[in-house]
């Protein structure tokens, strides 16, 4: 597989993780990275610096939106939340991911 395809796959996975995390509740950037790590029980670790370009990209696409708010320790933070478009996109992405993982697993099980 060429390197570009790998990068695209990772970027697509990061977008999916962000959308899924925000579907649970509105969150700031640091919170998203912690939640992904927590839910995946430490298996998936989001590259913290790459998270913000991904958030900006998703916001530009209209899948998420953001507002200033107060964090759990009373600091000003930017909170992201899923839009209706983002929710629909998440469902499509999840279906795609399931189909992809089933296909991949089928190939790996082949003898």
């Amino acid at each position: 597989m060429p390197p570009r395809a790998t990068t695209d796959a990772l970027r697509g996975s990061l977008d999916l993780l962000v959308l899924k995390t925000l579907s649970l509740e509105s969150m700031h950037g640091w919170g998203i990275s912690q939640r992904v790590q927590q839910i995946s029980e430490g298996v998936l670790e989001v590259n913290q610096g790459s998270l913000y370009p991904a958030l900006q990209r998703l916001e530009k696409s209209g899948l998420i939106t953001s507002d200033w708010g107060t964090s759990e320790n009373n600091r000003q933070a930017r909170f992201y939340r899923l839009t209706a478009t983002g929710r629909r996109a998440l469902k499509t992405e999840v279906d795609e991911w399931h189909r992809f993982s089933l296909g991949l697993e089928a190939v790996l099980r082949a003898t």
């Binding site: 640091w30 912690q34 370009p53 530009k60 209209g62 964090s71 000003q76």
Partner: protein, 698 residues
Amino acid sequence: MSIADAARARLRLIFRRNDAESRMKHEIAFHIQMETDRLVQDEQLTPVEARRRAIVAFGGVEKHKEELRSERRLAWMTGLSLDLKLGFRMLINYPGLTIVGCLALSTAIAASAAYLEVMNDTISPALPGDFDQRIVRIRSWDVLKNELDPHPLSDFKTWREQLTSVEDLGAFTNIEPNFVTGIGQAEPLRGVALSATAFRLLPTRPLLGRTLTAEDERLSAPKVVVVGERVWRSRLGADSNVVGTIIRLGKVPHTVVGVMPESFGFPVNHVLWVPLKLDAMNVARGHGPTLGVFGRLASGATVEHAQAELAAIGVRAAREFPQTNANVRPRVSPFLEDLLASGSDMTETYVYYTGNLVFILFLCVCGANVATLVFARTATRDAKLAVRMSLGASRGRIVAQLFCEALALTSVSAVIGLVATAVLLKRVRIALEHAVGEQVPFWWNDNLSSRTLLYVVALALFGAIVVGVIPALKATGQHIGARLKGAASGNASLRFGKLWTGVLVSQVALTVLFLMAVALVGFSMQSGRFVRGTFSFGSTELLTFSSQMDGAPDGASPADGGSNGGAHRFLEQYHTTSTLLSERLLSQPGIVSVTYASALPSEDQAFVAIEVDGMSRFSTGDTARIRVQSAKVGTSFFETLRVPVIAGRAFAVGDTVTGHNVAIVDQRFAHRVLGDRNPVGLRFREIRYVGDRHERIE
């Protein structure tokens, strides 16, 4: 979120740059602080160590900031703004180059923009914004003679009855009555007799009183006049009670009923309006005054609809009146179509606009000279540029920087050029009015149009490419290693000495001065054509004036030789008056000779078609038909001008007798037309069009 919301979010990220930058910094700071707090709490690290590890975990703050900026597509914009700032700073740091460069470029830009503006006003004129742009003009075109039918009175009456796609049809004819003041002084004014519908079509309201009405057009209605603001101020003392005053136009008293503002000059540049009384004109078809016809396209109608309807009316008229209308085709067009080019043929329009290539070439010449100076300046900065490139700046990035510097120079030049153009346009108006002796048309616009502004922006960009990109490509083309080596040894490979810089500055300055001198000489020569003239005769001893007599019926003028029977009595009266005037002038001290001519030597003469037998040079047969310029002159014309007749004789009194046709030709005629044969005694025929026939006058 809708697509509109997404677009708004995108635009906010792009254009609210400061907000986006601040938000980015805040978010990253918050993230690192939260991670630091977690590390302090979970892993018992000191705050300093926790912060260091948080930053490491974030993975290069600046790199991610750049990534974020890049996502916003702002990287190039930031660079552009910096480059432009640097460019404007360079203008201050190199004042000599700035002054010479701006002078050269702004001269070229001003000349090109002024040309475009004048072309727009003449080739594509537009009625002022508050005018109805659906106003059209209808003309009868004689397809056989390929010229306008000057007597469309009967056709106009037909159009007014039958045409439905054009409403409020009206007509006008130019008049130049003598405005007679209380102390008996008379001065001709440019007036027009027109249908009152004109004032319904046009939005301009009178300053005082009222405009003309349909009632005024009745034969029995009192004679009324509407005057322009300039006449009201200069001849009527700006009297606010002028409405109701009686003034004399020629011998006829008229009542002033209104005053129109100076911005109003419909149909062209008229200052006096009287009602057109068509009922009084019971003339035969094919006769009558020279009329212009106008109207407004009916709601939903287009010029094409109106043309189709007019064509059908024209065909019927040709069938019913073959004597006069067989070759006449009515045409409708926007009221202000091309003044220089014929409306249907765009080629002439393109040719006139292409004339601007001369000025664009001028800009190229100036730009190339300034580019040389810029290259000299770039040479002095070669070491800095080489270091920048060695640190990773691409060649494109350096070229962009030098382009921005040039753009700063051309932008300033464009602003100066625009100011100069605005001044120049005012001068053009004054020069035109001085040359023609009349006001410019009322739609003439001194202000810079948006089209010209855009054009100047394009010129500034083009100029920046010439001035900036070419030297930049040259300066960055050399191998970076050699340039760095040169920079390290203090021998920059692009170095220009002070001497050469001085020579180049002088070269550009001389180019500009030379071109300006050429322009000034050209302008003064053109002005001199109207003001002084350089003639072979003693022009400084000559005084000239034009005379016109009121009341010429049927559009007759003395110059047409009285071919129109209805004008005979008027012509006799004109002749008597002219003779009396000549005698009175001769009785004045200092006046030794008086003569007259249909056109002065400095003016354009009328063209006539002639046939000369035996001159196969101009045709395949024995008879040559050519067009020459001619003027009708008094018998003492050459004597008054002190121009000797070099062969044959001068005119004599007997030559004015009807049927005794003689002519004097000049040496050019003898050379070009007759091939240097002796013209004395030679016979030729003047060809005149009468209806659809040619009439030959021996």
